[in-house]
Symmetry: C2
Amino acid sequence: MASDSPKRLTIYDLARLAESSPSTVSAVLNGTWQRRRISKKLATRILSLAQSEGYSANMQARALRRERSGIIGMILPMYDNRYFSSIAQYFESEARRRGLFAIVSCTNRDPIQEREATRMMLAYRVEHLVCTGATDPDSIAMMCQESGISSLNLDLPGDKAPSVISANRAGARRLTLAILDRLSVEQRRDDPVLFIGGRGQDHNTRERIAGFKQARAERGLETAQEDILPCDYAADKAQAALRAYMQNRSGLPGAMFINSTISLEGIVRWLQLSGYCLDDIIFGCFDWDPLAAAFHPRLMMARQNVVEMIERVFELIDTPPPDPTLLIEVQPEIIGI
Amino acid sequence: MASDSPKRLTIYDLARLAESSPSTVSAVLNGTWQRRRISKKLATRILSLAQSEGYSANMQARALRRERSGIIGMILPMYDNRYFSSIAQYFESEARRRGLFAIVSCTNRDPIQEREATRMMLAYRVEHLVCTGATDPDSIAMMCQESGISSLNLDLPGDKAPSVISANRAGARRLTLAILDRLSVEQRRDDPVLFIGGRGQDHNTRERIAGFKQARAERGLETAQEDILPCDYAADKAQAALRAYMQNRSGLPGAMFINSTISLEGIVRWLQLSGYCLDDIIFGCFDWDPLAAAFHPRLMMARQNVVEMIERVFELIDTPPPDPTLLIEVQPEIIGI
DNA sequence: CTGAAAGCGCTTACAG
DNA sequence: CTGAAAGCGCTTACAG
């Protein structure tokens, strides 16, 4: 339908119709007309004309002239889990509240796609770029810097731009303590606890492992190296890692610290296939999914505080910190204790 | 960092550096230089200069001059379930493959937000608009029509633009047959089956109810009106509806047809809270969530074929159909039979 | 083989 | 109180 583009209305057309000039029309449309002391009568005439004719300002032209696009960009690993999708959603609504238009690109945890998306964002002259969960945040920050665009890291920190992340270590510690407390109540204080999922190289996973060990140490427990399995996030990887882990053991660990709902999926699938009773295991998941919580009564979760993280991001955008390496940590909430 | 915008490089700067002219630089950068018989030497000089100086074309200027933004828009109810988030993700990668820049806005199933987002999309001069799961698709289609922009409906159909949706009735029928077959195998052929979730007014829910009834009729079963509960999608609504339903009955229905994973969450939560054993119930969910599938061995799902739906959308964009009311149905896949 | 010029639709400093 | 003019950074038809 309507592929032939019938010239859209411009301020010149409006000026002609209102028997005025383009400058005046522009001022009226921008709300700067009182400052220019344009008569109220003329203003309302132009406004109602714009309305009735369905005028829509051309943002490309406005952006070009103002040298401001009004666009804020975000790159994101993917949409398809609760955490990232709520980041995208809340980012968009906060941007809108500030009169910015949000554009989001998925980069699949791939540094090449991250840079390519950044290049596009810069070509569209985004005013700020939020770099979420990037595998290579510093390259992105450098690219932005060279273009004079402010950038921020979210979820995974970098050294070349301010970062807003979850308090991974503290959160993992609290989640682990909750797991250990529940084991204690059940008189299974010394049962092994498996840490599984995530990437050994990524900052968040390292911190969570540190928090895990710290909590165990506080309870006077050692942590064996073979009980830590950063096998990547993917469900299949977690499933395979658990299968391999179980080959050398007689029974299940008393509890598992699972590093994402993606990994949880693989774990649960393997346990079901192997005929284990899920209800015998205590789960602590560093991630949040209400559907999983509904299914499993003994699942505790660290829910990252997306709302506050996005708020911090916009605060940093509004008032850029003097120190570009600033790291802000937001506490996750422990659910299901 | 770098909030002072140091003038970015333009083709004029490049022309000066290459001792050439802006037109030539533009032609080289656009790849139209062979057509213009620009010397290969000059072309490579300009190209390498652009590279080394980190030139990035200003898309606003290009869009303005070409009268084509290179942008394709999508409005979406929300990101936070598997279905919509994979729509967003696949839409974006398909758009990118075609050299279009995708922008997506969430509109929260709110007709006002839908129109507002459309207005913004049109102001940014999107070349096409995909209207996903809109509560008021026809208003959107009209707005686009007035601007001479092609629009398409996805997931929920409309009358004023071509639509790509799931084969809701056929899919619901097949899912219901799978449920009934399993009941038969368990010698519970005549157990009641509850249909729950969705909106009684929306096209998809109506179609799914029709498919549900049709499958039952094919098996010689009546469908009682009180076994159909289109209580909205939200988990809380589904939970409340199920509680009310159960007040007048002694036992659980043998199976449930649940109209989304959102609703499933409320159902499962209530069953757990009420002390029922989940494994006694057969679930059929018109939606897909692998984590839910991992948890519940007796959950069958109708997985909507997002990949094919998006492909159809782009086909319609490439070759607009003569009939603007064209409706394309894509079969969902039944999983877990 | 290459460049000067016009124009896309706005905004804004300036003149009156 | 209002308008003419310049310019944002490109592209493209035209002239040579």
